[in-house]
């Protein structure tokens, strides 16, 4: 299924415009970016700069007004809805700012859910192992409401890695956490990332966090510049 390419993500001449009553808003124009497999990349920028829109284009959740995105050599926009959803399920994972755990499932059940969806028979062991890796072995049977914010995000991280994704998109993963907890979470995130050689795309507005990635990009006024400083 994969093309013989060393690039996890190739985005060429991406443009995204929105039409509103006031006229057409051009969020960015002619934006290109390539990310190697196993690389970690941070995209930083001010609120409203279009970071989340860029992430959604890169993850194939949204279609660009022009330009193309290839993930592991595949142009998702050429696939139909079902095939695209199936490809995403097999190769991508997400970590969200607000954790998004299902309240009626235990920590273990939340982690194994993506494996269950694809019918993996090893779901239970794999999920338990991931929970152990994020230090929540003793909290397996707890429900989200019984966990702290940091613990909930660790469950979310375990859930994101349990499928051994090729690419992981993390959208402000520490945005809802205090500094210390955030630091712990990030350490665990990078550890798992290193172990699984996952390609990591991290959206943040925190320069210190961005600095821990292999490369950094700053999105400003529709232009993507490499490097932390504008």
């Amino acid at each position: 299924m994969f093309d013989q390419t060393s690039f996890a993500i190739e985005a060429h001449h991406l443009a995204k415009t929105f039409s509103t009553q006031a006229g057409i808003i051009r969020l960015f124009n002619d934006l290109s970016l390539t990310i190697r497999q196993g690389e970690s990349v941070a995209i930083i920028g001010q609120s409203g700069a279009g970071k989340s829109t860029l992430l959604s284009l890169l993850a194939g959740l949204d279609t660009p007004s022009s330009g193309s995105v290839k993930l592991s050599g595949i142009d998702l926009n050429q696939l139909n809805d079902t095939a695209r959803a199936a490809w995403r399920a097999a190769h991508l994972s997400f970590i969200f700012q607000s954790f998004h755990l299902l309240p009626e499932l235990t920590a273990l059940e939340n982690v194994r859910l993506p494996l269950d969806i694809r019918g993996d028979k090893q779901a239970e062991q794999l999920a338990a192992r991931l929970l152990e890796q994020v230090g929540l072995a003793s909290r397996q049977t707890h429900y989200p409401a019984q966990l702290s914010g940091g613990e909930q995000q660790r469950v979310a991280i375990a859930r994101a890695f349990v499928t051994q994704p090729a690419i992981l998109f993390a959208d402000e993963p520490t945005g809802n956490l205090d500094a210390d907890t955030g630091e712990n979470i990030i350490t665990q995130l990078f550890e798992l990332n290193a172990q699984q050689t996952t390609t990591l795309v991290l959206i943040t507005h925190d320069s210190a966090l961005a600095a821990r990635c292999d490369r950094q990009f700053r999105l400003e006024q529709g232009i993507l510049n490499e490097g932390l400083l504008s």
Partner: protein, 833 residues
């Protein structure tokens, strides 16, 4: 695990108020529709499919007079199996007890279709082996000198099987108890307790005399072709006093009453369906609005659209099973309660409950659930994982076509269910229109009431804002609640008032006994007997005759087609003669005249047939033809329980014709035994105890309206569920508003008061509006249907607004959840992020 997720999801989501409202709507809808469907179907089935059995024949010739020799010959020639029945109403007597019954005098073979089922009764003299309570089709007819009587007869007369009762001059032993029998007769006769006797015993009772109201029936049975030929041959030969009923096409048994009942059931079913569909749709809409995040997450974890659809369908299916099965079972139970209540009014035994109609209600609910589910849940498939990243709560784009398709499909389902597009359309439109008008009025009332609070409460500006925000929901809630309360109130008061007011309006000296069939030779002695007892009475001669012409022209040309439908032109009238206007009539036009061939006619008949003073009406009594000139027009109080006549002749015209006499009088409580004594002295008289007839009518009305109330009560519950559902529609908006107020410094008490004030205004407005609508409806019903003096119901104006306020406030407070200050902050924060 997916199943586990579905089950877990189901468990938590059905715990949500909208989930519960959905379950409750399905539950109530299946319950009501099962009840209405089964009841309607069994009423209809017992009337239509078994009409041959009920008629006791394939063809019935009904005649108000004994058969002429020509007819007897014709009947013989038909080649069909035939038998004759004579049916009449008569008071029967046992000890001091009297009862108006319907008596059939029959010959073997009887009946020609269906069978008579009797039961040996509990009897002291019977041996234990004979004492078992079995029912069996009886092969023969009552032995000579005995009768078969329905259990009601025995109960009312306080006698047992084997005891005797008196009919006219004869005494009969009760041989068997009649469980069910075909050929009960038509009209009110069929509602009276029934007795079957042999025709050879009839003459000895001397109950029948010229002028007696008797139905002579000939029952026919045979091959279908021959029956049809006979029917075709007989139809053109029928006289005005004769009717022909074919089992295939006619259901003579109180068709009108049952038609009305069926219409009522259909209207109720339609109302229940509309309410239910609306609640289901709204609760699903609310439910799906909250599913976007979850859907987006599941899709980000790899759930395909197909799996998503399966997940939600499984959930809907489970919800349907959870609610529809108990709903159907309760509906079935209630149906049996209703059938048991109506028991004696319906021909027994009832046809069994049809499996298909039992299943049709849960299937209907399922179909509505699926249609509404598709419209609300399908768009969830368009949810984007993007919403999790952007944290937006924007709903997925829904297909507008689905929103139009849903009401259309639901309407088609309803039309299919009530089996008529016109009826469904007509009823839906009128209900929606009434609801819409009521809703608008309620909204206006809320606005007015709120304005009146302007200087009185501090929360006024907030309340005004709230009322403006909620106005579309207020219209909906107001419309539904007002309609339901109005229907319940009208039913309650119409039933209460009908008998109470009717009896109350009667003057103290209103007769409570009617006596008919007084033969000319008994006239003197009956008058004397009553006078001796100190009972004032007047005996009127009664002759049955038909109007044949007006001013020399035949009816067919003298009257318009509408006028020709008038009762007076279509049946034999009771004619009388006298030398002065009856004291209880009023002279409206002209002068009472004792000139030869002068007649006085009743006001409404004169108006409807456009008759004026000086017109000459031609009559026929038997073979005699004669005419009379209208010299006066009288006002008649038909509900006065006195002998009343359309036409009164001056003396000398019809005096010589065979007549029977009729009278009515009042018996005081001290004279209670007098009617029994009168019957003992003159056994052939037919005495009708009006109080007893009223009691029987009251019983009938109570039974029918109890069943109707049960149906309405369930409908009211469905309405409340709809109100709850609508209250939840913008719960998020309400909570957000409350949270904002809380963080801006409002106390928990103040926000509570705001909600409470809104509910109070809403309930009060609905109550007042329901009062207005009920009084108007009751006014119309009293004026045009029940012919009663309209009344103002003070009790209604006090209780209904109170009740509505209580209902609405309680419902509102039940769905309301208090919000703490920290929770308010969190809510605002999450909404902003």
């Amino acid at each position: 695990m997916m199943t586990k997720l579905a089950l877990r999801q189901l468990k938590t989501q059905w715990r949500r108020p909208d989930g519960r409202a959905l379950l409750m709507s399905i539950f109530l809808m299946t319950c009501l529709i099962t009840l209405l469907n089964l009841t309607g179907e069994r009423l209809q089935k017992s009337l239509v499919t078994r009409s041959a059995e009920m008629m006791g024949a394939d063809l019935v010739l009904n005649s108000g007079r004994p058969l002429s020799p020509e007819w007897t010959a014709r009947i013989k020639q038909s080649g069909l199996t035939t038998t004759q029945v004579t049916q009449f109403s008569s008071m029967v007597e046992a000890g001091d007890e009297l009862l108006l019954t319907s008596i059939r005098a029959v010959d073997e073979p009887y009946p020609l279709q269906g069978k008579i089922v009797t039961s040996p009764a509990q009897n002291r003299e019977t041996s234990p082996s004979q004492n078992k309570k079995t029912t069996e089709p009886s092969a023969a007819l009552p032995s000579a000198g005995t009768v078969w009587a329905e259990a009601t007869v025995l109960e009312r007369l306080k006698i047992k099987r084997g005891d005797s009762l008196q009919i006219g001059y004869s005494t009969f032993t009760i041989e068997r108890i009649l469980i069910s029998s075909p050929d009960r007769g038509t009209g009110f006769r069929s509602f009276n307790p029934q007795i079957i006797m042999r025709s050879q015993d009839l003459a000895a009772t001397r109950v029948l005399a010229p002028g007696s109201r008797v139905q002579y029936r000939v029952l026919f049975s045979g091959p279908t072709k021959q029956v049809t030929e006979t029917e075709q041959a007989f139809r053109p030969l029928l006289k005005s006093w004769q009717r022909l009923y074919a089992a295939k096409s006619d259901q003579p048994t109180s068709r009108n009453a049952m038609d009305n009942a069926a219409q009522y059931l259909k209207l109720s079913a339609l109302f229940a369906l509309l309410l239910g569909s609306f609640s289901i749709y709204l609760s699903l809409r609310r439910f799906s609005a909250d599913q976007h995040r979850r859907t987006a997450l599941l899709m980000s974890l790899g759930l395909s659209r197909k799996q998503l659809f399966q997940l939600f369908s499984a959930q809907l299916l489970a919800g349907w099973l959870l609610a529809a099965i108990p709903g159907t079972l309760l509906g079935l139970g209630l149906h049996h309660v209703v059938m048991w209540k109506l028991g004696t009014l319906l021909p027994q035994p009832l046809p069994p409950v049809g499996t298909l109609s039992l299943l049709s209600s849960p299937l209907l609910a399922g179909a509505i659930l699926m249609i509404a589910g598709l419209a609300t849940l399908l768009p969830l498939g368009n949810t984007s994982v993007l919403s999790l990243i952007r944290n937006d709560t924007n709903q997925a784009k829904s297909d507008k076509r689905l929103y139009w398709l849903t009401p259309l499909l639901v309407f088609l389902l309803i039309a299919l269910f009530v089996d008529s597009i016109t009826l469904a359309l007509l009823l839906s439109i009128s209900l929606l229109l009434c609801g819409w008008v009521a809703g608008l009025c309620v909204q206006f009332l809320i606005h007015t009431l709120n304005q009146s609070l302007k200087t009185k409460i501090r929360l006024f500006p907030l309340l005004t804002l709230r009322i403006r925000q909620q106005r579309q929901w207020h219209r909906l809630q107001g419309g539904v609640l007002t309609l339901l309360l109005t229907l319940m109130t009208v039913l309650f008061f119409a039933r209460q008032d009908m008998l109470a007011q009717w009896q109350g309006q009667l003057p103290a000296d209103t007769p409570n006994q009617f006596v008919i069939n007084i033969q000319p030779w008994e006239k003197q002695s009956v008058t004397q007997w009553l006078a001796d007892k100190g009972i004032p009475s007047t005996l009127y001669p009664m002759i049955r005759g038909r109007i044949e012409s007006l001013n020399g022209q035949a009816i067919a040309t003298a009257f318009t087609p509408e006028q020709r439908q008038h009762n007076a032109l279509n049946r034999e009238l009771n004619l009388t003669w006298g030398d002065q206007i009856p004291t209880h009539n009023t002279l409206i036009e002209g002068q009472w005249s004792n000139e030869d061939r002068a007649i006085s006619i009743e006001k409404s008949m004169a108006e409807e047939l456009s008759l004026t003073l000086g017109d000459e009406l031609g009559f026929r009594v038997g073979s005699d033809l004669f005419s009379g000139k209208i010299t006066s027009i009288r006002g008649v109080e038909w509900a006065s329980f006195r002998p009343n006549f359309y036409v009164i002749f001056s003396p000398g015209v019809i005096d010589q014709l065979p007549a029977t006499y009729i009278t009515s009088f009042k018996i005081n409580t001290q004279q209670k035994g007098a009617s029994a004594e009168l019957l003992q002295a003159f056994p052939t008289l037919t005495l009708i105890d009006i109080e007893q007839v009223l009691l029987q009518a009251q019983d009938l009305i109570n039974k029918l309206s109890d069943s109707a109330s049960l149906i309405l009560l369930l409908t009211l519950l469905s309405g409340l569920v709809l109100v709850i559902t609508t209250l939840q529609q913008d719960l998020a908006q309400r909570r957000f508003e409350v949270a904002l107020l809380r963080t801006l410094g409002a106390s928990a008490n103040q926000t509570r008061s705001l909600d409470l004030l809104e509910y109070l205004l809403m309930g009060l407005s609905c109550g007042v509006m329901a009062c207005v609508m009920s009084e108007s409806l009751l006014f119309i019903i009293y004026k045009s249907l029940l012919k009663l003096d309209p009344q103002f119901h003070l009790l209604l104006w006090i209780t209904l607004p109170l009740l509505a306020t209580l209902l609405f406030t309680l419902t509102g407070l039940l769905t309301r959840k208090a919000l703490t200050l920290p929770a308010s902050y969190r809510l605002l924060k999450s909404s902003n992020s």
